[in-house]
């Protein structure tokens, strides 16, 4: 079957195309070059429409235990947003932490075709993949969490060399079916188990004597040397602590030029100035990002309203529990591996801190120059549910709208932000970079995020509208692997996406030390820990797409 999308205005930063009228041809799920005299089976007239590839959320909590704890914790939130079944879709719930099926439908209805879970605990990786296996339409993948696991910390204490650590990281990625590596509060989750309540960048874990700075260096080096495209994904120390802007600047400096992605940086950009001892560090952060080309970030924008925060950072989540709204929360220590903390939050525009958090996120977006190194996230659901992305895009693209909202927030917060003076408005091409081409490049997806021949046909078509929120919340068409899945912002058919992974090589002898460790200290046999391919594919719905490592011959 040959599909032709005729006459749309194409924004395809991956090919350097910025708003040019182009036809797109689709066959067998992929975009192809214009075929010679082939008969078009189905043609869509897209004259005047905006065409982009399917959007990719590179940091969204859509799979894994903490999300399911968040769901279980909040029945009253689900009751505000029941989702009916239809002949083609399953029932479920929406709002802060939607059910898996609804997650897939609602992402697709906004033009998204892929989402990546950033916090896959090795011991909980099966759950992450099983949950993502029940998310329809979207492609998915995960970043496996290391850095507070006792095995790595024991290696560091024993002064194992970088090669041994690389083997362990590669083995863990392969065992957990990951496409990236994340570290959360490096060593801090572990330190919390030893009753440390904070851990600065150069503070030692009381048992291992290892510092977060060392953990970051060794993991960032491992990721680079293994050849994983996605740089080490870092949720830094001191999340949410006033004054943590200095920690973040030190973290950037301390990585010594290695590739590093700093996630939900808004939560790590706080100063201590002003009457409330809480101020914006966004300008300093943006300046550091602009200067250090090895660094990428996503923002973790907060938006006002009820949500729930779900994080691996049990140390900081425990400290933040006093802000829980409603007042109930969960933390867990997990399997000598990691931890989690789930705290419901209600961000209020008349709360000084929340209002300034909102402004700090926007300042960051607007002060970082290079859209290829910054990504649009709310750290779903932590800053806001992913369904608020169209509103966020309008805030970025429409200065007068942004200033109208700014005028309504806590007056002291208005005084503490430079937002009103920032003139920048994001362009459609910049939005396409942040949410498509840049995200695919960062993660290392070889044939997604672009519209040139050879890419999978993940395509979103919008009607241009000066109200960018309206435009982005209701695409005319969404194609996933060439299948029309959304029309006028509603799912019209469903399918199953693939799971993106890398399979780095490692020295098989790495399992010798691991087997001994598993037998002595863990609760599972090593052989029962590794996730096999058929666990993802055996139900006939899932599939695995392996992406090349840097240095692989194409």
């Amino acid at each position: 079957m040959l599909i032709k999308l005729t006459g749309g205005i194409v924004y395809d930063p991956a090919s350097g195309i910025d708003g040019q009228q182009q036809d797109i041809y689709i066959r067998d799920g992929r975009i192809i070059a214009k075929p010679a005299d082939a008969v078009v089976d189905k043609e869509y007239d897209l004259k005047g429409k905006v065409v982009m590839s399917g959007a990719i959320d590179m940091h969204t909590h859509i799979g894994g235990g903490k999300g399911n704890i968040a769901r279980t914790l909040l029945p009253e939130d689900h009751r505000q947003d029941p989702v009916h079944r239809s002949d083609i879709t399953r029932s479920g719930c929406g709002h802060a932490m939607p059910s898996t099926f609804v997650t897939g439908y609602r992402y697709a209805e906004m033009g998204y075709t892929a989402g990546f879970e950033p916090a896959v605990l090795p011991n909980n990786a099966r759950q992450a993949h099983m949950e993502m296996g029940d998310i329809p339409i979207l492609d998915k993948g995960g970043y496996v969490m290391l850095g507070s696991d006792d095995y790595l910390l024991r290696m560091l204490t024993a002064k194992k060399d970088q090669k041994a650590i690389n083997d362990y990281v590669a083995w863990t990625m392969t065992s957990a079916k990951a496409i990236g590596v994340k570290v959360v509060n490096p060593g801090g989750i572990n330190a919390f188990k030893f009753n440390q309540r904070k851990l600065d960048l150069d503070e030692q874990n009381s048992h291992y004597g290892v510092t977060p700075r060392e953990i970051l260096r060794v993991l960032a080096t491992a990721v680079k040397e293994i050849g994983v495209s996605h740089p080490l994904h870092v949720h830094g120390c001191n999340l949410g602590v006033p004054g943590n802007v200095q920690t973040t600047l030190d973290t950037i400096q301390g990585i010594g030029g290695l590739p590093m992605h700093l996630t939900h940086i808004q939560f790590h950009s706080y100063g201590t100035e002003g009457d409330f001892k809480f101020s914006s560090g966004a300008a300093q952060i943006a300046e550091a990002i602009n200067r250090n080309k090895n660094i990428t970030i996503d923002v973790g924008q907060i938006l006002f309203g009820q949500t729930v925060t779900a994080s691996g950072d049990n140390m900081r989540q425990h400290a933040n529990h006093k802000f829980a709204s409603p007042n109930k929360w969960v933390t867990m220590d997990i399997e000598c591996d990691a931890g989690c903390g789930v705290v419901p939050f209600k961000y209020k525009d008349q709360n000084f801190v929340n209002a300034l958090q909102w402004a700090i996120g926007l300042e960051t977006f607007l002060l970082v120059d290079d859209p290829w190194r910054i990504f649009l996230t709310t750290d779903h659901p932590n800053g806001a549910p992913f369904t608020s992305y169209p509103h966020l895009i309008r805030l970025l693209m429409d200065r007068s709208f942004r200033n109208d909202v700014l005028a309504t927030i806590h007056p002291e917060a208005q005084k503490m932000t430079t937002l009103a003076s920032i003139e920048r408005e994001y362009t459609l091409q910049e939005i396409a970079i942040m949410t498509r081409a840049g995200a695919a490049k960062l993660i290392g997806l070889k044939d997604r995020g672009g519209l040139s021949a050879g890419n999978w046909a993940d395509i979103t078509v919008y009607t241009d509208n000066v109200d960018r929120q309206k435009m982005f919340e209701k695409p005319d068409y969404v194609f996933k692997d060439g299948q029309l899945v959304v029309v006028d912002g509603k799912v019209v058919s469903t399918k199953w996406g693939t799971t993106h992974v890398v399979k780095p090589q490692f020295d098989a002898s790495v399992e010798k030390g691991l087997k001994d460790y598993f037998d002595r200290y863990l609760t599972m046999k090593l052989g029962n820990f590794r996730i096999s391919d058929d666990e993802i594919t055996e139900d006939g719905r899932g599939s695995i797409s392996v992406h090349p490592l840097q240095g692989d011959v194409a």
Partner: protein, 419 residues
Amino acid sequence: MTEITEVPSPFCGIGTDDLTIKVDGVLLKVIENGCAVNTPAFEQPITDTHARVSGQEVSLEVAVAKAAELLKDTKLPLIGGCATDVNGMRGLLALADKAGAVIDNMNFTGARNNFLALQDSGWMNTTLAEVKNRCDLLLVVGTDVEAFAPRFFERYLWNKESMFLDDTSSREVIYLGRAPSGTASTSPTGKAAQVLPCAIEDLPEVIAVLRALVKKQPIRVTSVAGIAVADLQAIADKLLAATYGVVTWGAGALAFRQAELTVQTLSEMIKDINNQNTRCSGLPLAGKEGDQTANQVCGWTTGYPARTRFSSGYPEYDPFLNETKVLLENGEVDALVWVQAFNVNAVPPETSLPTIVVGRSGMTFTKEPDVFIPVGTPGIDHAGHAYRMDNVVAIRLKKLRDSGLPSTAEVLNAIEHAL
């Protein structure tokens, strides 16, 4: 005849995965690391290999068609049991969504004690590997741990080595409320657990006093439910002095009214300890016969635990009104589907309603159901996934033999498609 090693068990809830099982055709024999729970569950022989309709053997296709026919014009069918693996629950929820059914996990009334506490105020919990390596004080509340999981102590407390304790046999175990049925909690060096018994229904009072003592509130009485307050003070002091205290309870073992308030008091007490600069964690015992699996899969599919109805076209959770017993007694449902792939003794409740049983081969009935479809057991007859008690680790279940029995998922998917 083959021997399969490192076999994980879905039966005991504590994720034992070191069993060695001898397979001779369809006969299984546990030859290493069995226990009173796992060995009979693995060795249960296959008796039924054919589906039945009204007691007559029929093909699977005929039984599926009959099941679909029975469900076709129902107003509110009930899918009870809900004891299967992850794929089985996926199939069950798809069927429930399509049929507008109400689903109820058979152990939910016990688990409700935990869910109500969790959904009202939350908790701080831990998992088995943390217990194995860190726990220096275990407080057991109202529960006979070794009857629940015979190998709990051997695997997670009296392990030879741990990363952070020099001598695991120096761990301290205290039972509050119920005495242990055996000696599994006695350390390898012969140190017996301390036991402070009381009537199980007095636990709310005892736990309330313990929490008050942890919070350093004055207590005027000298004894509560037969336990000296001085003894409770000693427990409070130990919890506050421990390096990594763990408090465990079985929600189903707290068999008194409004036991959720006791779970809540325990969970809030654990938070109080952490707020006084000492680590302490909860460890709810559960995970038998797919109960955690049911709640996990229902959780991500609907947002709610596995006592949820789909009759409005969307999921509606109610931990009281959607209970099997209540629905049957009030005549609210008009058909029963009973799904139990693990336990031949967990038979459906007696009812005059049209009944479809998707059950483990070997199940016997006082009243033959309209349709009985024997299915394989996850972890024996087919591969699968099951959650263990700490809700974090999903164990990968192995296929041990070729029995030809279909999986729960295959049967429920077929019924759904036939609807």
